[in-house]
Symmetry: C2
Subunit: 368 residues, 2 copies
């Protein structure tokens, strides 16, 4: 298959020359898929046909994209016939099985599952940082990073380009929608159970009110924070935490970068926040950091605490950029900066970055 993909990559431009590429959106009815359709309707339209695909359960439903009601097709080999680019936002096991099928049918796959991200033959792409990497895709697959990494990496990458990053210490404030629709529904149900009560002041009272309704979270999320995301990996680390380490290293091309992350879920619907302690090879100043961040593509600098201005999820949600504020130089280390970063985990953290990668591929396919 690897060879076939390579052949496919080089053959593509000729095939698509003179026409707009065909796009498939696999997982079109999920929480990320829904935002993807919204984003495809908002951005400059580079696509010919857009085919919506989901599980057999969702097939036959209609979804609006680019203003047109479009029927959702059941996932099958046939749906990839004539598809140039296929976006996947589906569970890991579905991506593992179906992405290679889409590639075999001739599509370039932009995949948002965890299965391909650390594969050395799959580029992990954030267009603002390493768009070039998307050109080399031996398996025909380009991976989209995890939403927590994505929520901060554009800002961190811009600073790295100037100062040379040596260490990242990261704590996350992750939104419920990072756990999909079930995460959002669970948080909303819990909030309804605790609002208007005096709960939250006695041991276990929130836990009792929520009962078994913790959904995808291992503890109540309303009036609480939960220091866990993902699955247990080695030595007490969660998959979410090791993902931040592994993906930051791969995206930035720094295989020895020191990274320590602690991932914590907070009762926010959408938009991940991250505190970052970033240590660099060289001395830094806040003024330089401000200038870099103010000019970095995809970054909005909001940093005037005297005027009460700093990013919060409630302001960043639904927007495209990475919001950065609270920029400070460590008082005890002139090579380290502290940052507070917010990014909509469904947009830049998922759908937007997927769309940006897919557009990059579309331009490549249609440019002779």
């Amino acid at each position: 298959m690897t060879e076939g993909c390579a052949a496919r990559t080089s053959a593509a431009p000729a095939e698509t020359a003179g026409r707009r590429p065909t796009l498939a959106v696999v997982g079109a009815t999920g929480v990320v898929g829904t935002v993807l359709l919204e984003i495809l309707s908002q951005r400059e339209d580079v696509w010919g046909e857009i085919r919506l695909v989901a599980s057999a359960r969702s097939a036959g439903r209609k979804r609006a994209v680019r203003g047109a009601e479009t029927e959702v097709l059941a996932l099958s080999e046939d749906v990839f016939e004539g598809v140039d680019v296929a976006m996947f936002d589906v569970p890991d096991e579905i991506s593992a099985r179906w992405a290679p099928i889409a590639v075999a049918k001739g599509a370039v796959v932009v995949d948002n599952s965890a299965v391909f991200r650390m594969d050395p033959d799959v580029p992990l792409v954030v267009p603002e940082i390493n768009a070039h990497a998307a050109r080399v895709r031996p398996r025909g697959v380009i991976a989209n990073p995890d939403c927590t990494t994505l929520s901060m990496i554009v800002a961190v990458g811009a600073l790295h380009a100037e100062f040379g990053l040596s260490e990242l210490i990261v704590s996350s404030y992750q939104a419920a929608s990072g756990a999909g629709r079930a995460g959002v529904d669970t948080l909303r149900a819990q909030l309804a159970a605790v609002a208007g009560t005096e709960l939250g002041g006695q041991p276990g009272d929130v836990r009792r009110a929520v009962g078994d309704g913790t959904g995808p979270f291992p503890a109540p999320l309303a009036l609480n924070v939960v220091p866990w995301a993902g699955a247990l990996r080695e030595d007490g680390w969660s998959s979410a935490e090791l993902t931040v380490r592994e993906e930051s290293r791969k995206i930035l091309g720094l295989p020895e970068l020191r990274v320590a992350a602690t991932c914590v879920r907070v009762p926010v619907v959408t938009t991940h926040s991250v505190t970052v302690h970033a240590r660099f090879e060289n001395e830094v100043t806040v003024a330089q950091a401000h200038e870099i961040l103010a000019n970095a593509p995809g970054v909005v600098l909001v940093d005037n605490p005297a005027a009460g201005e700093f990013p919060t999820p409630a302001d960043a949600v639904g927007t495209d950029p990475t919001w950065v504020g609270r920029v400070r130089r460590s008082m005890d280390d002139p090579t380290a900066l502290e940052l507070f970063v917010c990014g909509d985990n469904l947009r830049k953290g998922a759908a937007l970055n997927i769309a940006q990668i897919a557009e990059f591929v579309a331009a490549e396919l249609t440019t002779p």
Copy 2:
């Protein structure tokens, strides 16, 4: 006054020998004061008379302490007559004015405001770590640390005693009650406004729903996190962040300790959480850290993620100890540990620590 206090300290044992010391609780009707009365009713009773004091506005109300309804007195010089120990939990300017008056009347003051904490003539005490410091109090005042520092320092101090701390990088998840009753009321009102809605997914929708109702917080707190606590200090740092640095150094007796904190408010009623990246002079192991934390006074170790066990505010609230979990050794630095720590900001973070200090003083005063 300093000399008078010094004389008072040495004269005290004789004066109080053979009787239980008299206690004044100044700020008895506030959110910390309320917990103080609860704690005084629960702990081993070392006190003679307990006198409740508050602003003139609250005078005449009754509060239960040790099972007895007790009338609240208005703050005046007279209320300190015959008082051996006075606990203060009042705004900074009230402490600044009235603590010296209480001392002049013969009381040892245990103060929870910010005004005395960094005074070199005022010890800053966490009994598990530096109880001895409480004995030397040239101004007659012992300061209680800030709740964010207190929420983590018992655990960090235990590790420091074994490994030798060299750096702390801290991110907080601070509860609304850290901002007093107004903080709690604001969060509850905001939760009532957003529960049962679809808010939280569009830019500014939570902000519009909350309107001017942000109370003591500079942005909406429901369905949000707010990267700000306290007042603006130099170079973009908040007072809450610099307080963590200054107080950790003073309590641990490490004036050169490297500390960088980012303080973030979260929609939790009570119990602060903190992620800690702690670097030590020596190599550490998780097994050693577990053993130290499992045996440290005032610490509960809850660290079995395979069984879904880690601390959360909803479980730690209303309890006395510092809860620690998610203990990991940095993959890239064998001298660094990552921790997640929860502490009830009204109990160990305020009232409990005040009570512990006051009991230490009471024992000193009554021991010949």
